[in-house]
């Protein structure tokens, strides 16, 4: 937002690009959960575009992005976050978009030293080189620490009106924002990708381990965002809704999974991922019963539906006591 404003103030027409990877954490991803329903649900990039008065193009790269997640040339960060490869890929896409739409250069809001993986002094030239944007990549907030770019040399942009921010301290950016009349901004970078989240990364790694191969579909990674994930055995796992909002969201997946729910008590919807045996489904039903209102009952009726819209099988099970459920089953 700040980098755009700085460049706009030099009289340059800017349009925004936002890439959707499937791993984006947005306010309304949490809106699946009913408890968050009262929170304002706005897309931060659209909100920023509106504040700045620029067009925003949202590009779905979720399919192509798999290669970045699965085979990062520069490796992962602390979790399964391939930040450097991600940055290179997005800058490359932005530059391609510029060329197709008669734009002259790419700007980013990067600041040297602000992020440990992708915003280091050594990685700045690497991103420009590997994305092939070369000297048409301008970082207005830290440009004075970097060699002159083509837009500066050509006089399209005044280097004097660019900045020399560095490090993790955001106070200079906040001061600049206030001086530019910006008093509200979206969350800083780094907290916007599920791959930086330890718990989410463990669920993704579990998915790969269970399948014996590193692959995923968009539905897989969406479902990793919801529910309790419980794996009693390598051939199947349960996704247990934690509240009404998640149950509603998971209902949309009933045609793709075996699923079950309690009929004698209220309780969550549970999707079963994998290839469970009949015995496994009884174990799953006992686990589900534990998360239902019948957890203290002698028996709970569970309906197991293997094919959506076909009659299910109702079984009577004893809710699984906590001591029978090893902590290792719960993926978090």
């Amino acid at each position: 937002m700040l980098a755009t404003k700085v460049i706009q103030d030099q009289g340059i027409h800017v349009e925004g690009l936002n890439f959707y990877t499937g791993f984006c954490v947005e306010g309304h991803t949490h809106a699946i959960r009913k408890k968050d329903k009262q929170k304002e649900k706005k897309n931060s990039s659209l909100w920023v575009a509106e504040q700045l008065g620029i067009k925003l193009h949202i590009v779905d790269i979720s399919e192509e992005y798999k290669d970045i997640v699965l085979n990062p040339k520069h490796g992962y960060g602390q979790n399964l976050n391939p930040c450097l490869d991600c940055k290179i890929d997005m800058v490359a896409r932005a530059w391609k978009w510029c060329q197709e739409n008669d734009f002259d250069f790419v700007i980013t809001g990067e600041v040297i030293g602000q992020r440990p993986k992708s915003q280091r002094k050594e990685t700045m030239p690497l991103i420009a080189r590997e994305s092939q944007v070369q000297d048409r990549l301008l970082r207005p907030l830290c440009a004075k620490h970097l060699p002159e770019t083509l837009p500066e040399r050509e006089g399209w942009v005044s280097r004097d009106a660019l900045y020399d921010f560095h490090g993790r301290n955001r106070k200079p950016q906040i001061a600049l924002a206030k001086s530019l009349g910006i008093d509200e901004w979206s969350q800083p970078a780094g907290g916007c990708c599920f791959l930086t989240d330890e718990s989410y990364s463990k669920k993704l790694q579990d998915l790969w381990d269970a399948r014996g191969e590193r692959r995923y579909e968009l539905d897989d990674i969406m479902l990793l965002k919801v529910g309790r994930h419980i794996r009693p055995a390598s051939n199947y796992k349960l996704i247990v809704g934690r509240e009404e909002g998640e149950n509603n969201f998971m209902r949309g997946y009933r045609s793709q999974f075996t699923y079950m729910f309690a009929t004698s008590h209220s309780g969550p919807l549970t999707l079963i991922d994998g290839t469970p045996s009949d015995e496994d489904l009884l174990t799953a039903a006992r686990i589900l019963a534990r998360y239902s209102q019948g957890r203290n009952a002698e028996q709970v009726s569970i309906e197991i539906v293997r094919t959506h819209n076909q009659p299910g099988q109702v079984v009577q099970v004893v809710p699984m006591p906590i001591e029978e459920m090893p902590e290792s089953w719960i993926i978090h």
Binding site: T29, A31, K42, I58
Partner: protein, 76 residues
């Protein structure tokens, strides 16, 4: 003027916005697009997307858990 429909049910934002954007890019000025979605985020995001791109938001309706948004395409 032709009215088109887009099913964006069970998609989480920003996917309803992306589908709306891609559909509108293929429509003519004056056409209407009716988008059906279930993510409450769409109630904010699709109107916001219309505002930044200059399309006219005709109406937004919430019926139970479904959101219906009608847009008139404006091409500059």
């Amino acid at each position: 003027m032709t009215t088109h429909e887009l099913n964006a049910r069970n998609l989480l934002c920003p996917l309803p916005v992306i589908r709306t954007q891609n559909k509108i890019n293929s429509l003519d000025a004056g056409d209407h697009l009716v988008v059906y979605c279930t993510d409450p985020g769409a109630l904010h995001d699709i109107p916001a997307w219309c505002r930044v791109h200059g399309h006219t938001l005709v109406s937004t309706t919430e019926i139970s858990d479904e959101i219906v948004i009608e847009i008139e395409v404006v091409k500059s």
